[in-house]
């Protein structure tokens, strides 16, 4: 009886269209944000940021971006890894060419550059759909990785072919480089993700988001009510790539510090992020984060359980983990094809009824 909307009447359309129309949800979110921003930074250490928090935030950003394209606009993409690489290399070039550039600007510009590249590779989407588009984006993935390997200019002709993030400071705190503090990295990523999650939510509940979904659900009808397919699809590619580019930028500059393109941005990354989106829930902002959390946390939990709990060899545990993850993904797709977000929604609907079953 604690969680329900009874008595919470909406007196305006604005209130009815609020992100979290139910007061309990609103409080929960504020509390969650308060803990994330005000409490967690005092307790984070290297293990927590590197193993859990940064991957969670950064892959959350990537999943959010991909979900805009796949979940909201219905355009399939297997090029996520490649687009993240664009963000990473854009950051590297910006950081080395303009050492004074503020890191926020670097990340945003990297997103912008990736958006432009995304639009280029999104152009075929006007003509081709479904599997064919998937193949086209797959080509983008391989082309981009090849490009960053091949053309020395992108990695400043370094002998190893790697790119390394130079030391950069934000408001006097070291953000990138070996001696950056965990809490600085964490807060930087958290802030960006929070702001851009809000922007994504705003976009999808307004005109542009409705046009994306209209194209996804019935492109012919959408066109006949005045939605322009090219503009709409390209805007989805642009916004999606912007987010994915920022994720790539953060992964490189803040999280890894050093990157070899094939290793960090290969096809497996494309699939990983796609799985996050599918498991979390296509067409759901919060689902993107749930999917990212699931695929980041589950392997860690499984590994800890098997190695520390069952005393398995780490190598064996790794194999079992991969196997189990595969099974879990299949299990989820069968049990709830609409993803974790849908499960969560059903739980909330049940809670709203509680304690009465109907």
């Amino acid at each position: 009886m604690l969680y329900r909307e009874a008595g919470q009447f909406k007196s305006s359309y604005a209130a009815d269209q609020a992100i979290f129309p139910i007061a309990q949800d609103r409080w929960a979110v504020w509390a969650f944000l308060a803990v994330a921003f005000l409490v967690v930074p005092f307790f984070v250490n290297d293990y927590w940021t590197n193993a859990i928090l940064l991957p969670l935030l950064i892959y959350g950003m990537a999943a959010l971006g991909l979900n805009i394209l796949v979940g909201y606009c219905g355009q399939i993409s297997l090029g996520t890894g490649g687009f993240m690489a664009v963000g990473a290399y854009a950051s590297y070039k910006l950081m080395t060419s303009f050492p004074e550039l503020n890191m926020i600007v670097v990340v945003l510009l990297s997103g912008g550059i990736t958006a432009a590249v995304g639009v280029m590779f999104g152009l075929p989407s006007l003509r081709i759909k479904g599997f064919y588009l998937a193949v086209a984006t797959l080509a983008a993935q391989f082309f981009l990785v090849w490009l960053f390997n091949k053309v020395g200019w992108f990695y400043n002709y370094s002998a190893t072919g790697q790119i390394n993030a130079p030391d950069r400071f934000l408001f006097g705190f070291q953000l990138t480089g070996a001696s950056a503090q965990p809490w600085v990295k964490y807060l930087f990523c958290l802030t960006l993700l929070t702001v851009f999650a809000l922007i994504a939510k705003n976009l999808v509940r307004g005109r542009i988001g409705r046009n994306w979904m209209a194209i996804r659900d019935m492109d012919i009808a959408a066109e006949l009510i005045g939605v322009r397919p090219l503009m709409t699809k390209l805007s989805a590619f642009a916004v999606s790539s912007f987010y994915i580019g920022m994720a790539g930028s953060l992964l490189f500059a803040v999280y890894l510090g050093a990157v070899e393109v094939g290793e960090s941005f290969g096809i497996n990354v494309s699939f990983l992020v796609l799985f996050m989106v599918i498991i979390g829930g296509l067409g759901s902002i919060v689902g993107s984060f749930m999917g990212a959390a699931f695929l980041v946390l589950m392997p860690i939990l499984l590994k800890n359980f098997m190695v520390d709990g069952l005393g398995l060899m780490p190598v064996t545990a790794k194999h079992v983990e991969i196997l189990l993850m595969g099974l879990l993904i299949i299990f989820f797709l069968i049990v709830e094809p609409h993803g974790l977000a849908r499960l969560w929604q059903i739980t909330k609907e049940k809670l709203r009824m509680w304690p009465f079953p109907y």
């Binding site: 604005a14 939510k201 307004g206 659900d217 019935m218 959408a222 006949l224 009510i225 322009r228």
Partner: protein
């Protein structure tokens, strides 16, 4: 019944007087490879009327609507819209010039709620740019709420308040057809093309739908082109009827006249083609 639109104040409308020619197709022919869907058809639609298009299955009725709103481009003939002659329409152009339609097989946005489906119909009238959309605040929020108000009026008009927040995929067929009409009305069209709006409905639903169509026509002055198989409905609703058979026009005139036309009777009985 709520009057939600003041016809005089509607944007994008021609200002043609009732009874003037709103749309005319001249000698239009359309074929797909070897299949001739439409052969040399001409007719007009007058401002303010309900114009029925009837004919047996495969006669080319849907193709005709598709030509009118630019989804198909005819090989021959011209389309005159508000006095402007053109070889073909384009979907975006048709939509922004006030032509809306519903589909024979419901073409709703399945994953979206009733409300969002109808709101999408207002997209062309929304102006706030990408930046404001990101903020969803200030002018963008104001615009969103203004359009929400309009949409709520349409929801009241079509009596679908209860399914406002329901994903349309879960709705029964009859209601889906109604939501589709709502989405078309949200565009505040000057010409509304309805492709078998009552197909698959029971008697009560048909009566409701007939009433809505008449109300739209009479209260808002919306011109309507209606494809319908139920002759009773056609007789009740339409001012003039054009009859197609095998892609050709075989009759055109007031309902009573068309009904007693020998060509039409033969076509429906399948006499000339022994179908």
């Amino acid at each position: 019944m709520n009057a939600f639109v003041d016809p005089a104040g509607m944007s994008g409308h021609s200002g043609l007087a009732r009874g003037e020619v709103l749309l005319r197709v001249d000698n239009v022919s359309l074929s797909f490879g070897g299949v001739k869907a439409i052969t040399n058809i001409s007719f007009d639609i007058l401002k303010g009327e309900v114009r029925a298009i009837i004919g047996p299955n495969g006669a080319g009725k849907t193709s005709m609507l598709n030509v009118i709103n630019g989804f198909y481009h005819p090989q021959e003939g011209t389309i005159t819209w508000r006095g402007q002659v053109r070889r073909k329409m384009r979907p975006y152009e048709a939509a922004s010039h006030g032509i809306a339609r519903t589909f024979q097989n419901v073409a709703l946005f399945k994953g979206m709620t009733t409300l969002d489906n109808i709101m999408t119909g207002r997209g062309l009238k929304m102006r706030k740019n990408f930046f404001w959309q990101c903020l969803h605040w200030g002018p963008a929020l104001k615009e969103e709420n203004e359009h929400r108000r309009k949409v709520e009026e349409i929801i009241d008009f079509l009596e679908i308040q209860a399914i406002r927040k329901t994903p349309v995929g879960r709705l029964p067929y009859g209601l889906q057809k109604r939501v589709e009409l709502a989405r078309a009305l949200a565009m505040e069209p000057e010409l509304l093309l309805l492709d078998e709006p009552m197909a698959g409905m029971n008697l009560e639903e048909k009566e409701d739908m007939s009433r809505f169509i008449l109300d739209v026509n009479q209260q808002f002055g919306t011109t309507i082109a209606l494809i319908e198989h139920d002759m009773g409905v056609v007789m009740d609703l339409s001012d003039r009827v054009v009859v197609l058979d095998y892609g050709r026009k075989i009759a055109d005139g007031p309902p009573e006249e068309v009904q007693s036309n020998q060509n039409v009777i033969d076509a429906y009985l399948g006499v000339p083609h022994g179908n």
